[in-house]
């Protein structure tokens, strides 16, 4: 894959040597030298993989430059001695992923760029993994009701929140109905239905309590593919609200306190009391499971 790297530096000799260095080291990279703000405006666009810019800019230029900078995928800042005091924190606020202070080893800069490129390749892979053509979409649409949320997102059951969000965004971008405005109405409808399901899956998997409930539901019955949202949205804010029996609620609260204090056996007894008073309450059952697992793990 072709990478375009833009460099904006006032020092022309430094610019030339850096350009030469990067061109030699990164295969398939086109390095663009930018010498003025005007050129900056023309050259910096979304096709730039990385943009390297110096921080020694006249006051006020920064603000004008920021939207332009941000067209590139990644930003690296270079601070020169005598320039404005820039901390990593400030650099981050400008959207820069890395800040280098002159002098610095060129290889560090190279490594940073290579890391960014590798990360992009990974991200693109995530996006390309999902079907693209209408035929693929038809297939997905047909089996939509047979897919659980994890399979839909193509992630494992224990995927972390970050991975889930990444896959979700890739799916949502791919199938958003807006992309198919010009398509046939059946295609549009499919995109719409898929997006709704993708959003539904994300609403569950991105929500710790709901995800726990969903996993629990699926463990009891693997045929369950979709979350039952009637199973108490209340659960999210204050799970106790799903317990209607006053005594059961009191025991559950006591049990949670015991869990916090590490008194697991005591907690289990209290939860069993709660369960007896309000049999079949999913929240109480999930806590019992949780405590049992903890006891097993010692």
């Amino acid at each position: 894959m072709m990478h375009r790297i833009g460099i904006y530096l006032k020092d022309e000799r430094y610019l030339a040597s850096l350009k030469d260095f990067l061109e030699r080291k990164i295969t398939g990279a086109e390095v663009v030298a930018i010498k003025s703000i005007k050129e900056f405006n023309e050259q910096a666009d979304a096709s730039l993989t990385v943009i390297i810019a110096e921080t020694q800019l006249p006051e006020g230029i920064w603000l004008r430059l920021m939207p332009v900078l941000k067209r590139a995928r990644h930003i690296i800042l270079i601070a020169f001695p005598g320039g404005p005091e820039i901390t990593d924190e400030i650099a981050k606020k400008y959207g820069a992923e890395r800040l280098f202070r002159v002098p610095f080893p060129s290889n560090d800069l190279l490594a940073a760029i290579q890391e960014m490129i590798a990360k992009d390749a990974q991200e693109d892979a995530v996006q390309e993994a999902s079907p693209e053509t209408v035929t693929d979409m038809e297939e997905l649409f047909k089996k939509l009701d047979d897919l659980d949320y994890y399979t839909l997102f193509d992630v494992s059951q224990n995927a972390d929140a970050e991975t889930i969000k990444k896959h979700y965004i890739a799916m949502a971008r791919k199938y958003h109905p807006d992309k198919f405005r010009a398509a046939l109405s059946e295609v549009r409808k499919m995109a719409y239905e898929i997006t709704k399901r993708v959003n539904e899956a994300y609403s569950v998997l991105s929500h710790p309590n709901r995800r726990k409930m969903y996993d629990l539901m699926r463990r009891d019955n693997p045929d369950v593919k979709r979350f039952d949202f009637r199973l108490k949205m209340k659960y999210e804010e204050n799970p106790h609200d799903t317990i209607h029996n006053k005594q059961a609620r009191r025991f559950t609260i006591l049990a949670q306190k015991a869990i916090e204090e590490g008194q697991l056996k005591q907690a289990l007894t209290q939860l069993k009391m709660a369960d007896a008073m309000e049999p079949g309450n999913n929240y109480i059952l999930s806590l019992i499971e949780e405590v049992k697992t903890k006891i097993e793990q010692g």
Binding site: K70, H176, M233
Partner: protein, 508 residues
């Protein structure tokens, strides 16, 4: 031939439209206005037989208060019986009456108009101006609404557009549009605060943008905090100043009020440019000896800032609440975007910079930002190669639930869930051979009916005869990409479609 989409910021006090031509968003100059900003005011003349719109109408307000409709956005999609409507009924100079289905209507010279009728007139003028500007007809439009607009308010906005001959291809949230105008939403992970200080309302919205995925983290606002309050504060200062320096306690009529308020507005605008301004209002003050004196006053920036600082401070109370709701600290916000005419005041810009610890974005005229963003979205929606264009994902504006037995509300759609979405619920009949079932729809996050806001009703009609509890009707609630609710129902036993009506209160 390329198609154009109008981006319209249909505001409480002003309306602005923009269009993307050759990839550049441009604000549309409005006929009869001094630029692209048109007051959202309609004044009816000749006993209601004709009307004028915009600045011309706004100027008529003092002479024609009963027949001049302003701030209609505050009434759009409201229920007549709501506390807000009662407040507006007292406050507004035109007559507000009850329409069908608890909706709000405006009575002018014996004729009744819905708030959307007024919006339609405004949109019609905008459409005509845009067509004059580009020299050909325009049908498509994207209209913006506040992030906290509910279902009824969004539906009404769509209807108003349709009545004005516009195909409203999307309703989007104002802060989202503002973020789009500044090109956010391209691959970067950022949190943006959109600080929108308009003529009558203040809104702060914290957005998170990541890979074109745009999430409203929180939104707060005050529906009575805007440039008008600044004018009013200056007006109060004038009255107090006259008492101190001329020894006259002013008894003021509507005419004097509007005269001094207009003067206040002028001073406010001037002071964004100059450091100090001297004002003379001729023949204003009736002295005890029968003579009438001119009122002379000099106001400099520091005095002005002193006068307005309590008002500005209220906006930051909202900001603090919004940050709290988003679980963020001010310094965790990466960018602040200024929207609305009132943010032109240098003092406010300074305060925003202080609060968020960074200079706010200012590149685009603050009154035009939202319309520009709407135009950009509209343009991207009709592009020939939509596959390459960014996609913006918006979220549900508010939670919705259905009333269940007792005092409970079962929340079905949670606020901030990504759109489009659907949720299903199953309902049954409570009596043998019941013909219809009515289900209340509630808005908000409260799980008790008595604490929530009844938004409308769902009516299952022509139910097939069955014993109590025997019917299982699955109702699907869908919120589309505009944030608008649609419903359909299915008889699970027979697999037949079940008749269902969605009756949103406030929609006449």
């Amino acid at each position: 031939m390329t198609d154009y989409v109008l981006g319209i910021d249909l505001g409480t006090s002003t309306t602005v439209a923009a269009i993307v031509i050759d990839d550049i968003p441009q604000a549309i100059p409005i006929t009869g206005e001094d630029g692209p900003i048109m007051p959202s005011v309609v004044s009816f003349l000749d006993g209601g037989r004709s009307f004028i719109i915009g600045s011309e109408a706004k100027r008529k307000l003092p002479q024609n208060p009963e027949n001049t409709v302003y701030s209609v956005k505050r009434l759009v999609g409201r229920q007549f019986s709501s506390a807000d409507t009662k407040r507006y009924t007292k406050m507004f100079s035109y007559r507000i009456v009850e329409g069908q289905n608890d909706s709000v209507e405006i009575e002018i010279q014996g004729r009744r108009y819905t708030p959307q009728d007024i919006s339609t007139l405004i949109l019609g003028k905008i459409k005509a101006a845009a067509e004059a500007f580009i020299g050909r007809p325009i049908q498509k439009a994207v209209i913006t609404v506040p992030a906290n607009f509910n279902d009824a308010q969004r539906k009404v906005t769509q209807q108003a557009g349709a009545a004005a001959g516009l195909d409203v291809i999307r309703i989007i949230n104002e802060p989202t549009a503002a973020a789009l105008a500044y090109g956010f939403g391209n691959r970067f992970h950022e949190r943006i605060a959109v600080y929108d200080f308009g003529g009558g309302t203040f809104d702060i919205t914290i957005l998170e943008v990541r890979d074109n995925f745009l999430e409203v983290l929180s939104t707060e606002g005050e529906s009575f905090l805007g440039g008008d309050d600044i004018d009013a504060a200056l007006f109060d200062y004038f009255i107090a100043d006259i008492e101190t320096n001329y020894g006259v306690k002013m008894e003021y009529s509507n005419v004097i009020r509007s005269l001094l308020t207009a003067e206040a507005e002028r001073i406010k605008k001037e002071l964004s440019v100059v450091e100090s301004i001297a004002v003379t209002v001729k023949n204003l003050i009736p002295l005890p000896d029968g003579r009438v004196a001119d009122y002379q006053v000099r106001i400099d920036r520091s005095l002005f800032e002193q006068i307005i600082s309590p008002i500005v401070e209220r906006s930051f109370d909202c900001c603090r609440r919004a940050l709290e709701a988003a679980h963020l600290k001010a310094e965790e916000v990466n960018a602040a975007v200024l929207v609305g005419g009132t943010t032109k005041i240098p003092y406010i810009q300074r305060k925003v910079a202080e609060f968020f610890g960074r200079d706010p974005f200012l590149g685009i005229e603050t009154e035009l930002v939202i319309a520009m963003g709407a135009a950009i979205l509209g343009h991207s929606l009709i592009e020939k190669h939509p596959k390459d264009s960014p996609v913006l994902l918006d979220v549900a504006p508010m939670s919705l639930g259905v009333g269940t037995a007792g005092d409970f509300v079962e929340i079905l759609i949670e606020k901030n869930a990504p759109l489009p979405l659907e949720r299903t619920s199953i309902f049954t009949n409570a009596a043998d051979n019941q013909k219809t079932v009515r289900i209340g729809i509630y808005q908000g996050d409260k799980t008790k009916k008595s604490e929530s806001h009844l938004m409308g009703e769902l009516i299952l009609t022509d139910l097939r005869p069955a014993m109590r509890g025997e019917l299982k009707i699955q109702v699907t609630f869908e919120v589309d990409t505009n944030g608008v609710l649609n419903v359909k129902a299915l008889d699970l036993e027979t697999g037949n479609r079940q008749n269902i009506e969605l009756n949103i209160l406030g929609l006449g």
